[in-house]
């Protein structure tokens, strides 16, 4: 039990990692719930990888990596909507094209750059143990905006998830809210990649929301439960990284996915017991 608390008491870097991780978990819960409900996982995952060339270029040019990530996400979204609108190809194909292209561009940029601090492993897996209070303040500000916007748009988002035609009929522009949702996913990815990297950030978005969706059905409770599960996973993941000497970012995401499967199994059990009756 002490292993869950002690590492955080006298290590400031653990406290910063916990706060930064929980901020990501809260934002991821708000956005992730809609990603899970609307089946937007593929575009979300693609966004997470699409930021790679942006981040790499920003590091080489000496610009803030957040800026590069934002540019990468914008190119990704613009590219996907261009392909889907200007060809008869499905959205899936468009996403796959952009996803692979952006990932490859990122690897090419990194392979020929001489950046002192920018390298592929860091971008892919993040530096949750290297978060500074300055990073956290910025993350906090962005998190507030994202959560606030989600709260304001919760009704149209909800309608969009369950009944897009109904949403249109009620006067909400489905395409506008779809674009807003994509933008919010992009912001969440950009916000989170510094802590857990572009490879793992999507686990943060999907896993707690999916876990919550197994248990509760109202959107508000899903977001709340996803947030709680996400924060607990950050806590347990960091503690496990400390106790068992594991890579920190990966531990967090691993715990989140484990939590999902534990809940999945747990929801299966009662049914078995009930069946023979």
């Amino acid at each position: 039990m002490t292993d869950l608390v002690v590492p955080f008491l006298d290590s400031p870097f653990m406290q910063r990692a916990l706060v930064a991780g929980c901020l990501v978990a809260i934002v991821a819960a708000a956005i992730g719930t809609f990603v899970v409900l609307r089946g937007l996982s593929f575009i979300g995952d693609a966004l997470a990888h699409g930021v790679l060339p942006g981040v790499a270029s920003a590091m080489i040019l000496g610009l803030p990596s957040l800026l590069g990530a934002a540019a990468g996400a914008a190119v990704m979204v613009a590219g996907v909507s261009l392909v889907t609108r200007r060809s008869r190809l499905s959205g899936d194909t468009a996403i796959g094209l952009l996803f692979a292209g952006m990932l490859a561009l990122g690897v090419v940029v990194i392979s020929r750059s001489g950046s002192f601090s920018g390298d592929l492993t860091r971008i892919l897996f993040g530096d949750v143990l290297g978060v500074s209070w300055g990073d956290i303040r910025l993350q906090g500000a962005v998190a507030t905006v994202v959560v606030g916007l989600t709260a304001v748009c919760v009704r149209p988002f909800m309608l969009l998830s369950v009944d897009p035609d109904g949403a249109e009929a009620m006067g909400f522009s489905a395409s506008r809210y779809h674009a807003l949702m994509l933008a919010l996913i992009a912001v969440t990815v950009v916000l989170s990649f510094q802590s857990v990297g572009t490879m793992l950030v999507f686990g943060m978005i999907v896993a707690p929301a999916a876990s919550a969706a197994l248990v509760v059905h109202r959107i508000g409770s899903m977001i709340a439960l996803a947030g709680v599960l996400g924060c607990l996973s950050v806590w347990w993941g960091l503690a496990a990284s400390y106790r068992y000497d594991l890579a920190a970012g990966a531990s967090i995401v691993l715990v989140q996915v484990l939590v999902f499967f534990v809940i999945l199994v747990a929801t299966m059990l009662p049914r078995r017991r009930v069946a023979p009756r």
Binding site: P12, F13, M14, F116, F125, V131, S132, S241, D245, A248
Partner: protein, 335 residues
């Protein structure tokens, strides 16, 4: 041209199968795109290299490249494969790099799993008959730090040789390098058919002088302050030669590519505080943010150290002296 034929057939199949491609305008677009890509791929085909008529030695890393250049003088051309500012642990070769390896008269690599990304391309060149010289095979290697290293005593002693990986950072010890270069000189003369005359002896003398200067500089640092915290475990040979103790690393691994765990970072912070180490020496490939976090929690400052590349003048000797000066300056006045 088989490729061109295949491409032509592919286009024909596309045109016949998919109505969209039958419209002439689209067909033209496809053809233009194909032509553009071909031109792009063919661009930059001729690289400067060679043409001097001298044999070419391709060396993987810049520190080894500097030493080989120093050894061969104008008897051969020396090409360094991994750009000076890149992390050799992380380097992936391009097709052009593979071609340079295949055309070399001799390949000199560091080995001991330093250039993991290059191993395939070097093995291919070796199969094609290019002679190779692996430096790590000619010097005694030390094994890496104990895995599960948590900064709790147990340094020194070197008794734990059972641990697998060998430390590849041999170029950071001039005495080892004197040995390795002595083994390389006859190979160069045999494989390139050149006469190095008294160059090997001169280089041995220069390396011995360098070692003497470094010994002297290290002696200026009080013994109690000769404690190193590095980006990854890169200074093992250097520390052993000049009486330092490596007490911790941002990434306690022989490669810069490992991921730090919370336990490791916590261990390094604790070690720095306990041992009152004034500086964290950050290297190519060190996660800057983690180094800064350890710095802010432990009070030690982050100092950039050139360990995997060479100084601006391209000299191995300058590089090693700069390395010692940076370390000495930051350990002497800190603490």
């Amino acid at each position: 041209m088989g490729v061109a034929n295949q491409a032509g057939q592919m286009i024909m199949i596309l045109v016949m199968r998919y109505p969209a491609f039958r419209t002439p305008a689209r067909l033209v677009a496809v053809a233009v795109a194909a032509a553009l890509l071909t031109v792009l791929a063919a661009c930059g085909g001729d690289d400067g290299g060679a043409a001097t008529g001298r044999p070419t030695v391709v060396v993987t890393t810049s520190p080894l490249g500097a030493l080989v250049r120093d050894l061969v003088g104008d008897t051969a051309d020396v090409e360094v494969l991994i750009p000076n500012d890149l992390d050799p642990h992380d380097f992936q070769p391009s097709v052009k790099d593979a071609e340079r390896l295949a055309r070399a008269d001799l390949i000199v690599s560091n080995g001991a799993e330093l250039e993991t990304g290059l191993e395939g391309a070097i093995a291919q060149a070796r199969r094609d008959g290019v002679p190779t010289f692996v430096m790590a095979a000619h010097v005694p290697l030390r094994s890496g730090p104990e895995s599960g290293h948590d900064g709790e005593e147990g340094h020194d002693g070197e008794e734990g040789h059972e641990h697998g990986a060998s430390d590849p950072h041999i170029w950071l010890d001039p005495v080892l390098m004197a040995r390795g270069m002595a083994a390389l000189a006859p190979v160069i003369e045999a494989k390139l058919s050149v006469d190095l005359r008294d160059r090997p002896a001169q280089q041995r003398a220069r390396l011995a002088e360098l070692n003497a200067r470094l010994q002297k500089a290290a002696a200026q640092i009080p013994a109690a302050r000769r404690k190193l915290v590095t980006g990854h475990d890169s200074l093992g040979y250097f520390a052993r030669r000049y009486g330092f103790e490596v007490v911790g690393a941002v990434i306690p691994s022989l490669s810069s590519q490992a991921e730090p765990s919370a336990a490791q970072v916590g261990g390094v912070v604790a070690t720095i505080r306990r041992e009152k180490v004034p500086a964290i020496f950050s290297e190519t490939g060190t996660p800057r943010a983690v180094a800064e976090a350890i710095s802010s929690d432990s009070g030690a400052k982050v100092v950039d150290l050139t360990t995997h590349s060479v100084a601006d003048d391209g000299s191995y000797y300058t590089t090693m002296e700069n390395l010692m000066t940076t370390i000495a300056d930051n350990l002497r006045d800190g603490g």
